[in-house]
Symmetry: C2
Subunit: 223 residues, 2 copies
Amino acid sequence: MTRTQQPAPQEAEIARPRTPLLSRDRIVAAALALVDAEGLAALSTRRLAAELSVSGPSLYNHFATKDDLLDAVVDSVMGEVDLSMFDAPHDWRTALHAWARSYRAALTAHPHLVPVLAQGPGRRPHALRLADAVFGCLVDAGWPRGQATRIGALMRYFVTGSALGSFAAGFPDDATLYTAADYPHLGDAHRLAEHRRTIDQGAFDTGLDALLDGLELRYRRLP
Amino acid sequence: MTRTQQPAPQEAEIARPRTPLLSRDRIVAAALALVDAEGLAALSTRRLAAELSVSGPSLYNHFATKDDLLDAVVDSVMGEVDLSMFDAPHDWRTALHAWARSYRAALTAHPHLVPVLAQGPGRRPHALRLADAVFGCLVDAGWPRGQATRIGALMRYFVTGSALGSFAAGFPDDATLYTAADYPHLGDAHRLAEHRRTIDQGAFDTGLDALLDGLELRYRRLP
DNA sequence: ACCTGAACACCGTTCAAGT
DNA sequence: ACCTGAACACCGTTCAAGT
């Protein structure tokens, strides 16, 4: 191959490489907006393509399958989780507390994706980095590796469970449903949905503190 | 209307009411088996109907929509959760511990349904009965109603989160994925899936005990 | 009352064709 | 390289028709 002063001469012979209509980032952003607005079921390749003003099959130039696209969407959410507390010199409890709250915030902003992302990190880089940071923090603090694994797991259980669905909003706002004969203790359940945000956040904070209290008891008993 | 000795005489004039091919129970059982075996995506009205040797639209004689059918499937799983500990004279911690383990067992037996059932009880009788029993137990034990609500919520977060997806199986069994440069602490992650059952169960039990320890600290501080 | 086939407006994905 | 229309094998649901 001889060098020329003109860059890539053979490109001049084929059609002008006009800037592509799509990119992976544009597709992921549109997919995330669609899922947030209308739920996972609304994410069809045809609907998403329409949103981007292209035809359905165009997406297959950028993602091999719809599942691959969904993977990218999910990992973009995982990238929103703050991990900076694991770089600072905090004790494990302080770091885990801050991380869990940031993790929950990222997930509750995109609740329809929680069932997908709760399947585990898979090969998603942001999800793997998160798991690495949490495990590293616990091991560095002196937790045995087996215990550190379990703590990473149980924290994920709690955070994903709290983001999967609102507890308060799960009870229909229909007073006639909670008859004393059938459900003697649910007389006020129809008013739960009203205070949805505070109840869910309060339950999460109570659970997180209780969980960390319980873990700290075990930490003190370590040899 | 005059009574006759023969029952329902007008029935004799129309075609013999042969025993129906379908019933709600048969449909629910087949749907549950299908979802357990092949996942939520495999549950289509046409596929389910084929499994039952009828044609697709037949199902609409027994359920108004596919969502109604799914509701019935989910509530049948909730019916498998043991609530008997709430009738016996146990302290709240003992009862909650036994209930949480039974709850998790029912859900892990049908993991594909967890995202649906974690949306809350809705109008499903078994799910409402469960919420009623837990809340009643806590209030009877002396927990203030606001705290009892939060504990009901956080327990659901933890149990559904633990059943939503295996922690261990979320890490691909591919040693080349966990390069030291990218993930310095995940060197052994490819071996997690091997011990999937014990890791997940161990993490759940550790978390449950830690959670109950933390709640007991708060219980002792109650006025 | 309960089941059927045909029909409607959707799906994900492949592929040959265009630039 | 990237986008398109046509096509294939699917969806949930409605409805008129059969018994």
